[in-house]
Structures are given as structure tokens and as C-alpha cells.
Symmetry: C2
Subunit: 988 residues, 2 copies
């Protein structure tokens, strides 16, 4: 039963040869993937067809694990297939190839999991999937969109099998080493020693200076080859550059900044190779572009015009597996669009229902009218004096207009419009039959569905989330014929992927739901979700635990399957010693499993959701257990290696990690944070202990970035720092603060201080370096950093002088950050603060009013916004605001240049002004310090203000009198200084 | 019917997988051959079994032809198979694999043609064959003996298919480009553009300084890896060194001297890798060395002891195809050995006949006695006084001796030997039966056959020319059982290779010849040779020409086949414009074809000798025609490229060709030759015209070395120079002189001068550089150079002062060549001269006598030797020599220190001395200038000399008288000065 490595290769070669693929050989220079082989990199360019399959032993130095890890190696073996153009059924061909290997889809869980493939080093990208076999990624399946910076037309399908993983899966093995390579020799006997040696070479022995020198030589030779028009030799040297770069990177010899330079250089070379190749093929007149007869389906049938009464309508857009988020995006768009579309099409209908799954987008409309109603339109023609002669008979122009609108010339009417007269035709239109209308509208409907990332796949050049493979379009039992994206509508749907997507005939729109449920598909997302929750909870109870069901994961998993079946698996409980976040992160992010806990502690179990029923579920379980075990083993390897040093010992290595060329290394940043936190501690009023913790946290907080675990799972930065701090014997509060640094709102004061110091340093430094976000671009995440400054201050309700903090940070930067730059930073932060406050539900005008005065102190502005919101919703607000507003408006229109006027109480003439002065003297003894204080004063003043305005003419002829009166109003207007500027308020 | 490239690969993979081979992948670094892949280079080391097959795209920069040549490429695709240990039938497995590809041995001519594989760059060698399919080399088949300097045990069988050639052969194609690679895409469409680009890169674009720098870096990394015990990474860098060396070489950037340094370095690295790997596997306890049960055949049967009367005896040693020369070597040895062996074995017999073919060595003995005769041996025992007591009774010692010889103690005899007495035993031995005797003797007989180069192949570790695969050993119809080299004797022979070597049962020794002839084998070499000559002549007559049948080729071809069938083929007559020597060289040396000429001009035909009958002979013809066409096309390519420049224009490029580090470039040598020839011209007495030709020839004679044609076919150096000189418009005599430079004896005087100048320069320069031949080592071919100096001088009969010539050459050398060195050079040349003269049939003593005086003038010494030889064979020689000899001996014993004595005619006392003096005065008026003149004088003097010695006492008491007499004899003795020293002569 068990397979050997070479059998897998021989079978795949035979399979793809039988499908018309060329079988070629691995490349003779170290490559990281089969994609780099010229048989892919070059041949996917340009219009010529190309179908090829080959093995590619792929070298990735930093994946070396000295032969200790059972699943990870510096060399793994790919089997690469390129299908150009898209044959129309590449997924099916692929699944057939798995069957040829003995992998029966009914016995496993085979999943196409969204993957946006990108290789920036060669300016290449594509969309597609990782293919999972029982949770194990065994294949990358990509529709290439771009290579070497060149857009691909046609698109190529790339299928990359990971042969080691397939062998492990096929043999249900724990590790690769003892599996048969062939001829009775194990994989380990052939490769393990070599794996050790290469790992050691790449990590320890490779001489950095020499490999750098090699890189330079290779790169120079690539240039020379390009200059001489030698494309394949140039490409070879680009690959050599790439490999030597990988060695340097593995040796830890490349700083972040350098990395960019290396990438740029390799990318530019790859781009030149690609462009030169395109040019060359063009000059050679595309020799492989053999004339093929156009075998596209003949013309589309004409829609019927006879429908008997209202019928159900059904549209199913069949697609290759959509990314989870796109399942929702399509749902939203269809839900919004269909009702308006039907309105636009003037088709009566009853209920509209929309369903989306990873494989189908479904629109169901009940009782759709058999046709549009008839209608009359008044169509405007030429001016009357042009269209009719003096006798009122139609001229040539008039006749032409009548003919064009298909009416009798005698029925032209003259109507006045503006000051002119025109002829008009009353055009009667018979409503068109619904099939005709839909046949026209449906392609447009499909075309209107937009996704964040979309891709082309065939010569139609249509872009969609993933390829469209079928449409079912039925009005009653009648097919609505249309074609879009090279696919013609019909009444054939496809069943579940694990059942081999059998063709399913939909006999009528009404029967669709029964037939499709019969086929095993749960169309309704909520139904799928509920089923998952129920099954997951049930499974968790079996082991006396409770499942951790996080909404995002639940939603994603629901969108990954059409028929959910929970599978509970175990893992080795020794792995429970790994940091909890590592365990959860691996389970959730990498594997989409639901973890299980009991009394807050994880159990050594997990729940996976299979797409399909429970046949052979044990195989699926074992497969998933194996995968998880392997991933945990990998994590374990990192942790074991990492904890050989204390966290503090990693800190000096931060010097090799560039933060930014102008701002120095991460170690430099770390040192700036330490300085800044000393300033922030008093500003944030930390207790003595808290201050100690904060300082230590600031010292250690970035050190985890250079650990292997963080290099591997970047999302765990901080979390790993916390964990390793504890394992290094640091105090709990320090560890917590380190862990909190990336949380938007740290819970502890030391965490708050550390996070603020870090974020302020980034904001100030990067703004100073001229790297402020522009438009949609925010490569350094500065918007998030700014939110991370204001939101915690609000939630901790700590008064804080942002302007002062920015100034202090500016002093620590290695480059100048002048007043103007500081102002821009504060303005930027204010922008975010405004967003945060509005996100809390406060009205725009209220937020604006407060921020006009208090933006530098987020906590205070939050309090003020809250108070002001209460005031503006008071019933008597309209009796408070206007009087105050009148004061402010007069003062502003007086253009006093903010010059404070002096008041001479002897110059008052009227009683009302004397009263108002008295009221001010008694009410506003202190400057108000909050919205409430301020407005309480105003409330008290309002009667006097109103009386004042009733009786007193502010703009008196006598200048002295006028200035005295203005002075009174200025005193009132200035009461809000430092608190708010009420002028943006509605009703001001 | 036609095959695609990928089908060939897939079929070979399937075939070898079915034979238990691992199927692995090409290596990910550019290699020149599959042998460099660690799956071969490393795994053949040590005792572990290893069976593997893989494709290897092999990169050989200097084979690049810009995609213009239909058969030669910088990248060709090997399919590599390693069988370790030898499975016992690797040739049969290989032929089976050809059948799997659709190559039926009955439809083709498949030949195993001797090939001694050697890769000095990795210190590797092995013996085996090129496999020819209809004249085309399609596979290298090698028994590896050594790798990386390490002797292999067990030996690995390496089978390397050349896939491009197989595709061409299978599809009977003219060129590879239009053949199907697979999936309807041609080989050319995939590879031709790339072939062009890589060729251009390797020949024109690669930057020499950068590639040198790469080499240095790779080499340093290899060292670092070795130091860290990282064998596979080290090997990878060795391969990278090798590839960059190849690039430099193709760019023409490596001088001969540098090449050695590069080779040494790579070889040393390869050796270290190999040794380290051996050590590592040993430390790992050879994990692949699984215990296997010993399945060797059970014990050999016992020879029968009953034979009825004399019977015929037959021994057939069945072997894999022997090299042609080894077929003769085995014949010689068996012819000498068998008679003496049978004598030693005391077996009576009648006729002995020996036959050898490439597949079998046959000994046939008529009427072999059924047993040895009985015999008595007198065995000597201890001294009588030890063996017998005083009473004559045996002592312990006597008893022991009797017992040992299995005789009764009473039968001990006492005999005298010298002056002592011993006891003797008369031991009677019954003759042993012949089967028993032979069973013991035959393994030893096989072991005694020795070849110049021999190889091991299985665990017996026996060395033979090629593996032994069977023995037929019959006495009458009885098998003589024995085992040697792991093979057990029987009565099963094998038929013809083209008939698939069917098993042939030999029912009795007498019937062997009929059966084996019936099987199609022509055992008798003379019969095969006659058949070839007859068929070849017949074929040549068909096209009205005559075959050029050169003895060496005829002999070789006769030894390559067991059943000759001539096949005549044609080639494109356009190729007849190629130099005749190129055409002949390609046909004879490369293809073993007989050329055909008419009136001294070649015809566009050739005759090949197929091994087998004439079935499907057309396929064989077409195949051979294709191969020859391809070879001629290649030559044509070189010539076309070469003649773009005149011969003189190549001369400056000689500066890039190092002659020797101490002696400069070939250009330096060329300039020295030009100087020297000016001195030689008067010495050789050239006419005026001849002098002009000689000078011009000297100027141009080395220029062809840097042409492509010469680089390709080194054996044509000089011949190409001649051809290109003519095409460059040089005069015919100059071209001829250039062409003659490598001939041992140039026919023309300018050729003679040029050759002498070249050879003297080499001798003088290399001796001065301390590179004289030592022992068997003569890396610079100085023995041949010395012969090339003396032999032409003899044949042209030109007097020449070698000492003067050497002195003049010494003056042109860039390093000192002092008198002592010059003396050594002359001595060395004299040694060769002596050999040449003796090879002419002259007796050793005569040659020695002459060379003692005339070695510096070869022509004169040859004349002298001839004359002296005539004298010594005269009947009266014994009446001439002794008298003269007596004179010489007396003079020598007088120790006169060569001091000439004065003669005072007044001091003579006796008549006889006066007479002798008078005779001398009248006979030796002039100094004799030749042997003849000298000996004619002696003949005249002899009566006087004899009379003198009869009557005169030379050693008189009176000193004056004595000296006067000695003076007389000295005059006589000195007559041979400068002519000969007769003292070495027999009878002196």
C-alpha cells in the first residue's frame, strides 16, 4: 500500500505526459522553487502556449533544520506543472492526478485554501490556493498574473506539488526519514546527512564576505549577458544572485535596509530578463504560436420570448473556490444590486434571496414577471420651427425624427420647454419578455461584481476573484442563455468538491434548492455557521472542554466549506508547554482549527472542519493530527533553540536589524524608547514600581524580534517577548508590559508607557524622515500608531500633553524634527483622534468643537466630547446656544485680532449692560476647566445676555462705548478658550 | 513509430526502476557529466550497494556550436545508471533497456568498443566501452576502478546514455532540432535559442577576470567546507570550480601550464572530498550495507577420475568484449603457455590450437591423455649420518623422512652428493587423472593471462582485461569443474552478440567447432581477416574504386567482431573538399571505416564492418552514413571557421599557449625555432631555395595549434598546418615542410630542418629545465624527439654535428643550459641512436664500437656501423682483429694517459720493428676517415704486426727502446680515433 518517493514522481510524470505536457528536467542551478526554472519563468511570458511538467529540487537555505525536523528541509522537492493557457478544468485535472497517486478525494479532506502568491524578488504574483490534504498543504495552485513585472496574457496555471508532504500524507507517516525513496532505500538514507551538512553550511560555515563577493560577480555577469542579449545566461546569473542572497540572509548577514537594496537589484534584473525575453520571442514571431482553429462554442441560443406567467428565477454562478472574504463581498454586492437591478429592468417580482458559498453565488427571485410592462416615453425632437413648416407640416427633419422613433409623423406634438418650442414624440414601448431582458442583463450583472483582488484566467480577460466555471440561469425550467468570461449558461450545476464535483442537472428554478441540498451543499451561510458551532461545541464537550470559537475564524471557516463536518483530533500533550499564543496562533491562523480549553487552560485537542461528510473521517483526523504535530514540532524547535539565550542577550543583535536607513537599527530605536520613557513616566504619573517595570520593559521590549520564533511567526512579536521574558526570570509585570506593546490598548500602566514611547518614536522619526502616509499608502502603519497613541490615553483617562511628548521624542531622533514637522505630527494625530471619537458614536460637530481646543490631550477631549454631547442633546439647548453664539459671532466679525479689550465699568450706559457685567463678575469667578463648568456659566448668563441684546446696540457710535460693550461680549466668548470652539456646532 | 525525447527518458526511468534502481534527479549545479553528481561521485565509494538511475543535463562549454551543429551542443542530456556491485549481467541489462526503447539488436549493429575512461580532474578512471549503434556512440559503459583517487571496492558499473544521440538514431534523423521533444514541441524549439546564447556567452561574453574570481571563491569555500567536515557542500563547490574552469578554458584564458595548476587543485579537492566521504560512511557504519545472505553457488563439483582413453580438450573463456589489442595479447600468451603447461602437467597430447575473438579465448587440445603417467622421483633427505644410526638403521629423522614421502623406511638409500652422503627416497607417484589435474590447473592458467591494462569487476577482485562471464571446459563430453573470478565452468557457451548472445550448449569438445560455427562465430582470426579483405575489396569494386586497407586498422577491425559483414555507405561529396587527412583520420581512427579511393583520390564512400549478418543491413548503413556525415559536418564547421583567417594570423595567438612555464609560450618556442633554423641551414647544406622554404616553414609551423580543427583533432597537427598553409597561399614546398614536422623522417630538406629545429629545441630546453625523462616516465616525449633527430639524419645521410647544434640551441633558451647539461643531452641522444642502429639489425658490439667515436654524427655512425658490420662478418676477421687488438690492449695497459709518444727511428733494434714502422709509414699516409679506410690499413699492417709481436719484446728493459716500441703500437691503435673504438667488439 505504501508509496515510494520515486513512484510518486514517475506517476506524476506519466500522468501529465498523458495530458499533453512536456516532461522536462530540473534546472542546473540552485533555485528556491520550480517557478524560477526558465521553463516557467520565461515560458509563461508572451502569447505562446506552453504545457510542461518537471521535478524541481528546491533549495531554501533558511528552511534548513539540520535534518532534525521531520517536515522541514533546506531542500524539498517540487513537482511543477504549467498549463498555458488555462485548459478550463485545471482543478479537475489536478484532482485526477491525485487519484493517479492513490489519493481518493472521498477518503480525505481536500481543500482549496485561498493563497495570494507573490514573489517580490522577481516581481511576480498570482492568485490561487494552497491545496490542503487533511490539513496539510500539499500543493500550490496559482493563476499567474504577472512575472518579472510583465503582465501575463494568457494567464498560466501553475501547479506545484510538495512531494515530501505528499509522501508523508500517502504513507500516513510521522516523518519523511523512514519512508521509502525507492528500491528499498529510505528518504533519510539518501538525504538526511546531506540535510545536516547543508544546514550547517548555510547557518554557520558560509563565508559572508566570499558569498557577498560571489553575489557581486554574478550580478555583474547578469548585466553583461543582458547587454549582449543573452537572456538565458542572464537568467542563470539572476538565479545565482538569488541563491547567494539567500545564503547571506540565512547567515543573518543582511540588514533590513540592505534587503531592500538586494531585492531591488534582483527584481530589476528579473524584469530586464523578462522584457528581453518578450522582445526576443516577438522578434522570432512566436514560433510556438501554432495556428489553432477557433473551437469556441458556436453562437449562444436566442432567449425565448414566450413565458407563461410569473416564474421563479435562479442564477448560480459557479466558481473555483473563492477566498472566504470574497464569499461575503459577493453576498453584500448581490444583496444590494439585485433589487435595484430588477427595478431598473422594470421586472416585477416577489422575494429575493441571495446565497454565497465558496463554490457558488446564488440569486433566487420568486414570481418574476414574464415580461416588462409596456410603457410610454415622451421623446424630445428638434425645435418646432425646424421640424414643422409654416403650415405645421413636418419638414425633412420632422419626418426623420418621426421615423427614428417609429411613430406616425402626424402624431408629433409641439410643447414648450423654457422659452422654446420643440416637437415631441409620444413613444409607446411594448414591454420586452423577461428572458430577453435577463439574457442581456445577466452578463452585466456578473461583470459588476467586484473584489478587492481579482484575477484573469482565460482569453476573455475578464477579472474575477477566482475563475468562473459555470452558470445555471433558469426562469422556471427555461435556460436564460448568455455568455460571459468564456462560459455559457445552462442548467448544469456541480456538486460537492469532495464528491468530485459531479454534474447536477437543475430541472427548474423551483427545484434548485431541493436538488442542491440533495447534492450535499448547505447554501445558507447561517445554516452552515450554526452547524459548525453545534458540532464544535458537541465535540469539545466530549473531552470535557469548551471550544474557543472566535467570530472571525468561525466566519472564515463557514466560507471555506459547503458541507461542514467537525473532526476532533489530538496532539502530543508535551506541546502544551509551548506558549499558549503560539499554540493558538498555529491552530487558528495556520490551520483554521478551533482550540479547546478547560478552566482557561488549553487541552491537547483541536477541532477541524472538514468539507464533506464523515466517510473515512479517521484518515482525515490522522492527517490533521500529523500536520499539527509537525507544526508544533517546528515551533518547539524554535523555542528550544531560542531559550538557550536569555531575552536580554538577544538585545544587542537588534543592531543587525535596520529600522530605517535614516533612523538607524532596531537597537537605536530601542535606545530612543528607553530615553523617551523616562520623560513619559512623570507625564503619565506612574507609581514608583510601575516606573521600574516600564523602564525594564522598554529595555527589553524589542529583543524578541531577533529570536527564531519571531522570525518564523512575526505575528507573535511581543507575545514571544512576554513569554521569553518570563522564561528569562523577569518579573511578571515587566513581561506583561512587553506583551502589551503591540496591543492597541495596553491594560497596565507600564505597558501603556512602553507602547506610547514606541509609537511616538515611530511617528516622530518617520515623519521627520519624510515618510508620512500619503493617500492610501501607509507602509509603516502610522495611522495605526497614532490611534495607538490616542485610544489608550482615552481609555486610561490619563491627561497627557501630546505636544510636549512629541517635542521630547523629537530631541531623541538622529535627524532634525523641527516645529513645523512637529505641528504636522500633532495634526495627523488629531485626525486619528477625531476618527476614534466619532467611532465612539459622537457627532461630527461636537468632536470638531472640542478638538478645536483640546486635541493635544486625548483623554480630556474625550471627556469634553462626552459632556458637550450631553449638553447638545438637552431640550433647552436651543435656548442656551444662540445667545452665546451671538456673542462669539459679533466678536469674530469685529476683527479684533484676538486683542483683549479692557472694560471700563464707568462707561456702561444701559442697565442691561451693567446687569450683564455684574452677572459675569459673579458667575465667571474662575476660568471654567470643563465643558460642564463653562456651559453652567453660560446658562447663568443667558437671561442677561438675552436682555442685553434686546436693549443694547453694541455698535454704538461712540467708540469708547462700543469697545466697552464688545469687551463684555469678548469676556463671554473667551470663556470656552482651551475647552472648545462651539462654532462648528449645528445651530451655531 | 518515431520517439520523442521525453518518451526515451520515461521509458528508461521505468526500465531501470523495474530493475531495482533508485530514480533520482539531476544535480542542481552545472556539471560536465552525470558522473559528477554526488549520486555517482560519492556513492560509488566504499562498500555499500547502490543502484541508481537519473537524467543529467550535462554542460560542456567548449562543445557549444551556437546551435549550428546538428550533433554537438554545450548541453547534452545524459541518462546515468550506476549498478554497484556488478550484477553479473550488466551488458545484458543494458541491451534489454535498448529493446525497451525500441532498439532491436537484430536490426542494428550494436558494438562494445574499447574505451578507457579517465577523468584526471577528479582522479577517476575505469575500463569499459563506448557502445556504438550503427557506428554512432550512444553510451559509455564503464567499470569504475577509481574515483577521487580512491580505489573502488566493489567496482561500480556506470552506464551513461547519450539521449540526444539515441533520439537521432531512433528516428533516423539528420539533426536533433526537428525531432519531437514531447507534446508536439521539437527539441529545437525548446533548446536551440538557448544553445546559441550559452555558446555566445562561453566563447565571447564571459568575463575572464570575474570568472577567475568566482573560481577562487568557490575553491576557498570548498576548503572551508572540508575543514568543517561538510562533504556534500564541499563537493558542490568543487563542481562549481570545475564549471568555472571550463568557462575560462572555453574563453581561451588558460595556458597549458595554468591548466596543470587548475587540474591539480581540483583533483586535490576531489580527492579530499572522496576521502572524507569514505571516512564518514565508515564512521556511520555503512548504513546501506544490509546483511545479505551469501547466495554464491554451492561447492564446485569434484572432477571425475574416470576417463576412457585420450580425449579432445576444450577451454573457452567467455568474456565481455575485449579491446582489439588484448585479443592478440591473449592469443600470444596462450600460444606460448599451453604447450609448456601441458608439459609441466605431464599430460600427453596431440595438436594444440588457440583462437581468440573479442568474446572468447579458446584452447583446443587433441587427444589429451586421460591421466598423467606414473613416475618415480628420487627425493633427497637428511645427511646419512643424521638419518641412520651406526647400524644403518633409521633414526627418528630417517623415519620422519620416510613417512613424509610415504615409503617404507627400509627402502631409504644412501647416495653421495659432492663430498657428503645423504639418504634418498625413491618415491613412486601414480599419475593423477587428467580431470583432476586440469581442475587444479585451469584457474591458474586463467590467472596467468596478463594484460597491459586490467580491471576488477566483482568481489573476487580478480583483474582481467574485461569481465569473465563464462567458461566452457570439456574433456570429451565431461565438464572439468573449476571456479575462478566468481565464475564456474560448464558446458554452456554464448552465441553472437547481435543474436542476443544466446546460450549455446557444447555437447563435447570435439563438436565445439561445429557448434560454434553454426552459432555464427568465426573463431579463426585469419579467416575473419580474409573475409573482411574479400568483402571490402568486393564492395570497393562496386563503385569502381580500391579500398585503402591499412594493416593496423584491418587487424583492429578483425578483433572487434566475430562475424564480419561489410556495409558500404556514402557521404555527401561536398565533404571531399575537406583535407584528405581529415577525412581519412575521421573514417579510420574514429569510425574504423575503410576509405575508398580511385586514382589516388578519395571517393565519397566508406566501408564499415558490421558484427553479424546482413539482416536489416540498410538500417545499419543509414546509421553509419548519418554518423559519418555528422562528423564531417563538425570538421567542416571547424575548417570553415578556421579559414576565415590566414595561417600566419594564428601565429600571434600562440602566445596564449604555454609550452612550459620555464620556457615560455609556444610563440616563444616558435621564435627560438626560427633562430635555430638559421644555424641549421648551413649545417644541413640546404640549397638557396630550400633555405627560404625552411625559414618560412619555421615561422608558420606551430600556428595551426591554435586553430579549431587542431584543438579538436590534435593528431592532425602539422597536417592541418600544411593544408591551411596551402589555403593561405603559401608555396607548396613550405606547406609540405610544415606537414612533415611531426613525421619521424621528413622527406624534404626544409622539412628536415624544421623538424630538427623543433626537436632540438624541445630536447635542449626541457633538459635544461630539469625535465629529462626518468625511468618509464617521458611526459614530453623526449625519447621520440631524440629518435626524430637521429633517424632523419641517417636516412638523409647528412653529416651533422649534434654537439654544435645543441650548443647553438642552448644559446637561444631563456634558461641556462651549461656544458654539463649539453653533455647529458648528447648522451641521451646517443642512447637513442644506439637503439635506432640496433633496430636496423646491427649487432650491439658493432654499434657500441662506432658510437664510442662517432655518436655526434648519426649519418656517419650509420655508415660506419654498416662498414664495420661487413668487416666483422668477413671470414678472415679473426685474422685481422686480434693483431690490432693486441696493439690497443698493450697501449691501454701502459697507462699512457693518451700522451702521444714520439718515435725515434734510430732507436729501433729489431728488424721486425723496423719493418712495422716502414709499413706504417707507407700504409697510413693519411688519417683514415672511415671504417673501411682504417681497416684496409690494418689489413695491410697485419703481417708486420704479427711478425712484430712474434719477435719483439715490447716491454724492453731499456726505457727508451720500450717507449719507441710503444710509440709504434700507439700509432696503430690511434688509427681508429674518431672512427671507432673496436674494444667492445666480440673477440677483441
Amino acid at each position: 500500500m505504501s508509496s515510494s518517493f520515486q513512484e510518486i514522481i514517475l506517476k506524476l510524470q506519466d500522468f501529465w505526459a498523458s495530458k499533453g505536457c512536456l516532461i522536462t528536467q530540473p534546472y542546473y542551478t540552485q533555485v528556491g522553487a520550480g517557478t524560477m526554472n526558465p521553463a516557467t519563468f520565461l515560458r509563461v511570458l508572451g502569447p505562446e502556449p506552453w504545457n510542461v511538467a518537471y521535478v524541481e529540487p528546491s533549495v531554501r537555505p533558511d528552511d534548513g533544520r539540520y535534518g532534525e525536523n521531520p517536515n522541514r528541509f533546506q531542500l524539498h522537492t517540487q513537482f511543477q506543472v504549467i498549463l498555458k493557457p488555462d485548459p478550463g478544468n485545471p482543478q479537475e485535472l489536478y484532482l485526477e492526478s491525485l487519484k493517479a497517486l492513490g489519493i481518493d478525494p472521498r477518503q480525505h479532506d481536500i481543500r482549496f485554501v485561498e493563497d495570494n502568491w507573490e514573489q517580490p524578488a522577481i516581481s511576480a504574483w498570482g492568485l490561487g490556493w494552497e491545496v490542503w490534504l487533511d490539513g496539510q498543504e500539499i500543493t500550490q495552485f496559482t493563476y499567474f498574473q504577472q512575472m518579472g513585472g510583465v503582465a501575463l496574457d494568457p494567464v498560466s496555471v501553475e501547479i506545484t506539488y510538495g512531494l515530501e508532504r505528499i509522501l508523508i500524507a500517502l504513507n500516513n507517516a510521522k516523518a519523511i526519514w523512514n519512508e521509502d525513496y525507492g528500491a528499498g532505500v529510505t528518504y533519510g538514507e539518501i538525504r538526511r546527512q546531506e540535510e545536516f551538512e547543508h544546514s550547517k553550511y548555510y547557518f554557520e560555515v558560509a563565508d559572508v564576505e566570499r558569498v557577498r563577493a560571489m553575489y557581486d560577480l554574478f550580478s555583474a555577469e547578469a548585466d553583461a549577458c543582458l547587454a549582449a542579449g543573452l537572456i538565458v545566461p542572464a537568467h542563470d546569473y539572476v538565479l545565482k544572485c538569488s541563491h547567494s542572497f539567500n545564503i547571506l540572509d540565512t547567515r543573518g548577514a543582511i540588514s533590513v535596509a540592505e534587503r531592500q537594496a538586494f531585492f531591488r537589484r534582483i527584481r530589476e534584473l528579473a524584469r530586464q530578463v523578462a522584457l528581453s525575453y518578450e522582445e526576443q520571442r516577438k522578434n522570432l514571431e512566436y514560433p510556438l504560436l501554432k495556428k489553432t482553429t477557433d473551437d469556441r462554442p458556436s453562437t449562444i441560443a436566442k432567449p425565448s420570448s414566450i413565458v407563461n406567467g410569473p416564474s421563479s428565477f435562479l442564477l448560480e454562478i459557479g466558481v473555483e473556490e473563492l477566498p472566504a472574504s470574497d464569499v461575503d463581498i459577493a453576498y453584500e454586492q448581490l444583496s444590494q444590486r439585485i433589487p435595484t437591478l430588477l427595478d431598473e429592468l422594470r421586472l416585477d417580482h416577489k422575494d429575493i434571496r441571495i446565497f454565497t458559498t465558496p463554490r457558488r453565488l446564488v440569486v433566487s427571485v420568486a414570481s418574476l414577471s414574464p415580461n416588462q410592462p409596456d410603457r410610454e416615453d415622451l421623446v424630445k425632437g428638434p425645435p418646432a420651427d425646424k421640424a414643422l413648416d409654416k403650415d405645421g407640416k413636418p419638414t425633412q427633419a420632422g419626418l426623420g425624427f418621426a421615423k427614428k422613433n417609429n411613430i406616425d409623423p402626424s402624431s408629433l406634438e409641439v410643447r414648450e420647454e423654457g422659452n422654446n418650442k420643440y416637437v415631441f414624440a409620444l413613444v409607446k414601448q411594448t414591454g420586452r419578455p423577461t428572458p430577453e431582458v435577463l439574457a442581456e442583463a445577466l452578463p452585466k450583472l456578473v461583470a459588476e461584481i467586484k473584489f478587492e483582488k481579482s484575477m484573469r484566467w482565460n482569453e476573455s480577460a475578464v477579472a474575477f476573484s477566482r475563475p468562473i466555471r459555470w452558470y445555471v440561469a433558469l426562469l422556471g425550467d427555461m435556460v436564460i442563455p448568455f455568455e460571459y468570461a468564456g462560459v455559457v449558461s445552462g442548467n448544469i450545476s456541480r456538486g460537492l468538491r469532495p464528491y468530485d464535483s459531479p454534474e447536477v442537472k437543475i430541472t427548474s428554478a423551483d427545484k434548485y434548492f431541493d436538488i442542491i441540498r440533495e447534492a450535499g451543499v448547505l447554501l445558507d451561510k447561517e445554516e452552515r455557521k450554526a452547524a459548525i458551532v453545534a458540532q464544535v461545541n458537541e465535540a469539545a464537550h466530549l473531552v470535557g472542554g469548551e471550544a474557543i470559537i472566535e467570530d472571525g475564524l468561525l466566519n472564515e471557516v463557514t466560507n471555506l466549506i459547503e458541507m461542514p463536518t467537525a473532526v476532533m483530533g489530538e496532539f502530543n500533550s508535551e506541546f502544551l508547554t509551548l506558549p499558549r499564543d503560539v499554540l493558538i496562533s498555529v491552530m487558528k491562523k495556520h490551520q483554521r482549527y478551533f482550540p479547546i480549553q478547560k478552566n482557561g487552560k488549553l487541552l491537547a485537542h483541536f477541532i477541524a472542519i472538514r468539507n464533506g461528510d464523515d466517510i473515512h473521517i479517521d484518515i482525515v483526523r490522522e492527517g490533521n493530527e500529523h500536520v499539527l504535530g509537525a507544526r508544533f514540532a517546528d515551533a518547539n524547535f524554535f523555542v528550544r533553540e531560542d531559550v538557550k539565550l536569555k531575552l536580554e542577550e538577544y538585545r544587542p543583535k537588534l543592531s543587525s536589524l535596520t529600522f530605517h536607513t535614516k533612523l538607524g537599527s532596531m537597537l537605536d530605536k530601542s535606545e530612543r524608547i528607553e530615553k523617551l520613557i523616562n520623560d513619559l513616566i512623570p507625564m503619565l504619573k506612574l507609581e514608583k514600581d510601575e516606573a521600574i517595570f516600564a523602564r525594564r520593559a522598554a529595555h527589553l521590549m524589542k529583543a524578541d524580534l531577533v529570536t527564531q520564533m519571531c522570525t518564523e511567526m512575526t505575528s507573535l512579536q511581543g507575545i514571544i517577548g512576554c513569554e521569553y521574558a518570563l522564561r528569562s526570570g523577569e518579573q511578571n509585570d515587566i513581561a506583561v508590559a512587553i506583551g502589551e506593546q503591540y496591543q492597541t490598548v495596553p491594560q497596565t500602566k507600564p505597558g501603556l508607557a512602553a507602547a506610547l514611547a514606541d509609537r511616538l518614536d515611530s511617528l516622530v522619526g518617520l515623519f521627520a524622515a519624510g515618510l508620512a502616509p500619503t493617500g492610501a499608502k501607509d507602509p509603516f502603519g502610522l495611522r495605526r500608531a497614532a490611534i495607538g497613541v490616542v485610544q489608550p490615553l482615552i481609555e486610561h483617562d490619563v491627561d497627557f500633553d501630546l505636544a510636549d511628548a512629541v517635542k521630547k521624542s523629537a530631541k531623541t531622533q538622529p535627524i532634525e524634527c523641527n516645529d513645523e514637522a512637529q505641528a504636522k505630527i500633532l495634526e495627523f494625530i488629531t485626525g486619528r483622534l477625531s476618527v476614534v471619537l466619532k467611532d465612539l458614536g459622537y457627532k461630527h460637530d461636537v468632536v470638531e468643537a472640542v478638538l478645536a481646543q483640546q486635541s493635544a490631550n486625548p483623554a480630556a477631549s474625550a471627556r469634553a466630547v462626552k459632556q458637550l454631547s450631553a449638553w447638545v442633546s438637552r431640550e433647552d439647548w436651543q435656548s442656551i446656544l444662540p445667545g452665546y453664539a451671538r456673542c462669539v459671532r459679533i466678536i469674530r466679525s469685529a476683527n479684533l485680532d484676538d486683542r483683549p479689550l479692557t472694560i471700563d465699568d464707568k462707561a456702561f450706559i444701559e442697565k442691561e449692560e451693567k446687569d450683564l457685567y455684574a452677572a459675569i463678575q459673579s458667575s465667571a469667578v474662575h476660568r471654567p476647566s470643563s465643558i460642564d463648568e463653562f456651559l453652567e456659566i453660560i446658562v447663568k448668563l443667558i437671561p442677561s445676555i438675552n436682555a442685553f441684546f434686546d436693549k443694547v446696540l453694541v455698535m454704538a457710535e461712540d467708540k469708547k462705548v462700543k469697545e466697552n460693550r464688545l469687551g463684555l461680549l469678548q469676556r463671554i466668548a473667551k470663556l470656552s478658550d482651551g475647552i472648545a470652539d462651539l462654532s462648528p456646532l449645528e445651530g451655531f
